[in-house]
Subunit: 317 residues, 2 copies
């Protein structure tokens, strides 16, 4: 079952929770597609420029000025009367957002963690279920984020790629069809995964982010970055190591999910990547050109993807 983006009436009122690289790209894109978008960020200073400008200047594969009517660090205001709430923060912040959102959630609201990393929806559900008002929330997660996007200024964002396809699942999985149907209001190409074990264990960030970062830690730190994460840090040997890790991940995933997917298959699906090795595939993906390196090890490639990716996958293994 697949929902194609295309001509539909975009009347949904949505909230994007998180105003970083991902949230800005998604907010800009949704607004340019006619949706009424609220943008929440925990630290208001970081999104003040968007409020001052009244929206975002979007560059890249989509371009234009995207109006954002509500920019706020007040959670109640951000999600009130919004049908779809998309959480676009590093997974280690899911707990904080669950606690912050729970008191204000309303019957019928849909919460999508984008992405969930490994176990995001499980953690989120565990936290909000103790609140009495969350019995009729549709909760789910995406396997990955739909874009490659980067902040380029205080009120601008570059979207360098819209991924071909992203898999989503509700938790519990019995709600997945309704979940996907509701997401059909959004201009994204989504496909139903079997369950959150599938979205969670096909965690490509955990494969692509921490290993190349750590295997460049010395120069990353002493030179404060200055290289391209995908193009430079994933050398032949680093790529082979990731392929070996990925084979272990697929082995774990196959115990929990009927549809484990290798990283190379995912790159082909998502980016039309071509090549016989991970390095070759990565080099064939133009969207990765603009993705610079972390400037320190205090970065989500380490702080997010190890505890919410490698550790739970390894523990399940």
């Amino acid at each position: 079952m697949q929902v194609k983006k295309g001509n539909r009436t975009n009347t949904a009122r949505i909230a994007i929770l998180g105003g970083g690289n991902a949230g800005r790209g998604l907010a800009g894109y949704m607004s340019l597609h006619g949706l009424d978008v609220a943008l929440y960020n925990r630290t208001f200073e970081n999104v003040r420029g968007i409020m001052d400008r009244g929206g975002l200047d979007v560059y890249g594969v989509i371009e234009g000025y995207a109006q954002i009517p509500l920019v706020t660090s007040n959670m109640a205001r951000a999600i009130r009367n919004r049908e779809i709430l998309i959480v676009t923060v590093p997974a280690q912040a899911h707990g904080f957002f669950a606690h912050k959102m729970a008191p204000y959630l309303d019957d019928g609201q849909l919460v999508l963690l984008m992405p969930g990393r490994t176990g995001g929806a499980l953690e989120f559900a565990h936290i909000i279920e103790s609140y009495p008002n969350t019995q009729n929330i549709l909760l789910g997660e995406a396997q990955t984020f739909s874009f490659v996007s980067r902040t380029t200024g205080t009120s601008s964002v570059k979207v360098s790629k819209i991924k071909n396809l992203v898999r989503v699942s509700a938790f519990p999985a019995s709600a997945s069809r309704e979940f996907l149907k509701r997401l059909g209001d959004l201009p994204l190409t989504l496909e139903l995964a079997n369950d959150v074990m599938e979205t969670g264990l096909n965690n490509v960030g955990a494969m692509l982010h921490p290993t190349p970062t750590i295997l460049c830690a010395g120069l990353l730190e002493s030179r404060r970055g200055g290289y391209n994460h995908y193009r430079d840090a994933i050398s032949e040997s680093v790529g082979r190591l990731i392929e070996r890790m990925d084979a272990e991940r697929v082995n774990v995933a196959s115990q929990f999910s009927p549809y484990p997917m290798t990283l190379l298959e995912w790159l082909e699906d998502t980016y039309d990547a071509e090549g016989n090795s991970l390095r070759e595939c990565i080099q064939s993906i133009d969207a990765y050109d603009g993705v610079g390196s972390p400037k320190s090890l205090q970065h989500r490639y380490v702080l997010e993807d190890i505890p919410t990716g490698l550790v739970p996958i390894s523990n399940l293994g």
Copy 2:
């Protein structure tokens, strides 16, 4: 007990076995101090330039033209009638050299592995003891190499540092005093270690080489080096990790040796290094300025220092 370099009659005939960065530096230095030096290299092509020139042009903390009367890849010729044989090859080649040298060893010859890494003299002794002509060989190892030196051309070498002090031990240790007395003919500052467990477990190469190399593997490989091994690759975090590894090494060493030495103590002893962290100490050592990075992972910093350093230390632990 310490032997100071200084005014002595340098009449020894020595052989340097290995014509790489280390062997060239040592051969040039010894020749400039008046010793009769033979230089052996397994692959003759790599030292042909030295034979053609008749010696080495030495730059750095010592300078001059150093005559090398014999340059050869014939082991019998290299070591015949030489009193002191110094093996200056990566430790994974010790086995090859032991087999190659053993048939030609003569009563009274002294073999110094410089350095022995972890277990070098043990491996060397184990191999040569099956030869009947090796009963009166004085065998031992140095904890580290006496210089920082790098090849700069087909017949030239730069010696950027002569280390303050290097510890040596014979195997068995009962021969150490005679061993050190014989080495007194050489213009090096040597000090007696307790035994080869002390020289072998105070393996500083195993601490300083592989970790920074692997933690720069991505950029090292995709850019084929282009950075300074000590100054750039040992960043704050990499330095802290090495200090943690070093504490484990010292813990292992303390089970076998009365005099374990931390890496920071060794840097202070050897280079007069100053600083509160490994990174600070490294940055204070001018001799490390000129030490570039490996250009691939097929390098002794990985191929030597893991199997002949980290693995045996870890196994002993």
